[in-house]
């Protein structure tokens, strides 16, 4: 059987493969003299790591990085000879991330398009979401999960790398099994409707973690609530497992599900419900994406409203949206100063044995003080910078 994987897009390659008596590698590339040998070396290494000696391949390169070529070859070989396994040793030593680290932005990137994945780790997103679900057409799903696995295994993410898998019954199991080889920080579970959905994913994760020698429970889960059922069950979903660190809202599917318009009012109930559900379980909540990439004022306004409601972050569909989102969800200089003043005043009051204290004519009671302490801590963590993969 002949297969053809990949595309002619910049940064991608096409790999054609068929069974043969022995392996054979052909390479086509624009800068042939410069690149042919390097591409051939990647191909040889990939074939031998797959333990393949009987597949002929042709690599037609359009400027793909090594891990993209390796992923395309693996996908092609596995399509030709089903049953070949996952023998990939990640070159990145990725540590589990902290449960409550700041997650102001979650940047979606289509898991099937190398062109859009090059440098995706460089834009400062708190969570990069490599997507295998809505942005990947059905025919591309198998190759995309292999590509995402190789990307995770190669690229050092300064913050968090997540994968949005398909619903478990619709390819999600295969997604999780594949991508966990690349050791993402977490899995986004779309269209989550119940605590059971999360528990099913937990079971998969525990099984694979055990198989691959990964510490149990170290892979986080971010359920995405984007149906009426999901929104109504946000409290149980948030509390379903210690793996769940954040609830995310998906407005597009939600409005379709309930027949609402995507207006501030149309989304208000779901947003508030999700925030309350998340906060009841002491986890974070992330608002839906803002679809108009060119409208920065609109994005900031929506992000500000989300923050007012209690959200900790917001989705992004383009790297340009990250900076404005971070600006909105980070305490301002004035807020920080105010917080420091409050803490200072409270400390002073305690020293002098005073019960209550006022700052700028406002009574500082316990919730106000706690909020101020929280803000200072949060700002400290944001300033602490990146815990880069080794």
């Amino acid at each position: 059987m002949d297969v053809r994987i990949g595309s002619e897009a910049k940064g991608d390659c096409i790999v054609e493969a068929h069974s043969d008596v022995r392996s054979n590698i052909e390479v086509e590339t624009k800068n042939a003299e410069l690149l042919r040998d390097g591409i051939r070396a990647v191909a040889q290494e990939t074939l031998s790591s797959l333990g393949v000696g009987d597949v002929a391949i042709r690599v037609i390169d359009f400027g793909a990085l090594d891990h993209v070529i390796a992923a395309r070859i693996e996908a092609a070989v596995r399509a030709v000879t089903p049953g070949r396994g996952l023998p990939l040793h990640p070159t990145v030593d990725r540590k589990a991330s902290e449960r409550d680290r700041p997650r102001r932005s979650r940047l979606y990137a289509p898991g099937n398009q190398p062109r859009l994945l090059v440098g995706i780790e460089l834009h400062g997103a708190d969570c990069v979401l490599l997507d295998l679900e809505d942005s990947v057409p059905l025919s591309d799903k198998a190759a995309a999960r292999i590509l995402v696995k190789h990307l995770l295994a190669t690229i050092r993410f300064p913050k968090e790398a997540w994968v949005r898998v398909n619903p478990l019954g619709a390819g999600g199991r295969e997604d999780v099994t594949e991508v966990l080889v690349g050791r993402p920080h977490g899995i986004c579970l779309p269209k989550t409707e119940s605590a059971q959905d999360v528990l099913d994913l937990c079971a998969e994760l525990s099984r694979i973690e055990a198989e691959r020698g990964i510490e149990e429970g170290s892979t986080w889960i971010m359920p995405i609530l984007e149906t009426a059922r999901g929104v109504l069950h946000s409290e149980q979903i948030a509390a379903s497992s210690d793996r769940v660190v954040m609830l995310a809202f998906g407005a597009e599917d939600y409005t379709r599900d309930i027949g609402a318009r995507r207006t501030t009012e149309g989304l208000l109930f779901a947003r508030s419900q999700i925030v309350a559900g998340a906060k009841a379980a002491r986890i974070q909540a992330s608002d839906t994406v803002y679809a108009n990439v060119d409208d920065e004022p609109g994005l900031i306004e929506e992000a500000q409203r989300a923050q007012d409601l209690g959200f900790d972050g917001k989705g992004a569909i383009n790297p340009r949206q990250i900076e404005p989102i971070h600006r909105t969800f980070s305490p301002t200089k004035e807020e920080l100063e105010q917080a420091r003043t409050i803490v200072e005043a409270a400390r002073e009051a305690e020293k002098r044995g005073l019960g209550a204290v006022a700052v700028d004519g406002r009574m500082v009671d316990r919730p106000v003080l706690e909020r101020a302490i929280q803000q200072i801590k949060y700002a400290g963590r944001l300033a602490g910078g990146e815990d880069r993969d080794a």
Binding site: G11, E33, L34, G38, I39, A41, V42, D61, G63
Partner: protein, 514 residues
Amino acid sequence: MRNAVGREIPERIGSRDVRPFEGAFATSQTGAKAARPQKCAPRTEDKLLPSIEAAIEACGLSDGMTISFHHSFRDGDRLVNRVLDACARMGIQGLRVFPTALFPVHEPLVKHIQSGVVTRIEGSMNGPVGAFISGGGRLAEPAVLRSHGGRWRSIEAGDVHIDVAFIAAPQADPYGNATGIRGKTPCGSISFSAVDAQYARHTVVITNDLQPYPVYPMEIQQGWTDYVVEVDEIGDPEHIASGTLQLTRSPTNLRIAQLTADAVVASGAFVNGFSFQGGAGGISLAVTKFLGDAMESAGIVGSFGMGGGTKLLVDLLHRELIRAILDGQAFDLDAIASLREDPAHVLIDPGFYANYDSRGCATYKLDAAFLGATEVDLEFNVNVNTHSDGQLLHGIGGHQDVAAGAAMTLITVPALRGRLPMILDRVTTVTTPGEVIDVVVTERGIAVNPRRGDLKERFVAAGLPLRSLEEIKTEAERMVQPLRRPVFGDEIIAAIEWRDGTIIDVVRKVEGWA
């Protein structure tokens, strides 16, 4: 011998003695400038000739002579091919072509080289002609590449004597005044030819829009012009953008642009009176836009922006974020319209903006400039001429002049282009020496030349992602198998002049691969 950037260069290239590059500002000139022959036009001089052929004849153009052109129509130019076709028909051989630049549209030059009509080229060779020379196409002498300012200097200094300057003029009068900003097909300033017109033995203005005396502004003046020819077509202004004029949409390039703008803002130079030059590449355009927005929100008004004029620069002028544009060449039609309408959009020529042997350059008044590169090396040397496979495919443009002139020069370059790492141990060709490069901005971080500890401190304080070039290089190389490298033979196909006329590097023919 080895020059000051460590490049091995011969003592002679073709028929010329080589002065090696000694440093960006190391040389100085003595003596007088060159001059053209005297000529006194009678009061009733009639300069109109019926055809290009008639002008060629009137100028006495013959074998072995030097002819020159400007590139203001860029990839839409029609004149170079027309003149050379005429020369070929008239049996002229052995010409030296001395354009301000060549573009893909000039591909027919290849056949004129093959038939011996053209045997030498001194000028930036973008595209097919460069590829032809790189691939073994023979010239009588190696090509010579000069910067905008370097070319101007070479004419004034008498390094190059032009026999006939052919000047495509979108509008001219019969007495030889000409402009590029009016007419049926305006292309922007044609002032690149002003030095040719003043120093060539004969100057021919060729226009497709002959208008009654006087035509203005006069980038080319009557006192310099011998003949005027009217033709039906000289160029297509739709192609002056050469396909480069698109604000980048690539997230990687936008990140580079944003980091560049952030670096400029953090540099200390970002105060009222700030001046800068931005090119026409996708990243440069985006930097110009981001800087404009930063100026607006910081309430800063710049003194001037330097062109190539673009719509983006014109927007800054109209938003009153800069007081003036100094514009040597237009990159789009909006810039040309603004040259006609905005008094603060000022026409300048390369002598004004970039000439090393002069009493002042506009580039020396620049606080910041952001320029592209094909390669950068660990010494901060920049290559804009050759690709990593050794092919000579691009000219210098104003790169050297602006980099040397600006108080802070930032190079915008992706660490990876496809599979090709762009930060190298040694660039394939040194176009611009690391001593005049202050900052290299990649998508993987910002590298500051160790000479600029002051900038480094400011960037750190601003929280910019500082890395060394070594770190950026290592990170990029992690993602691709090592490349093979071209092995160069002894044969020299082009000499790269520094703006003072010394040789900063040579391009040799590729003989194999390692």
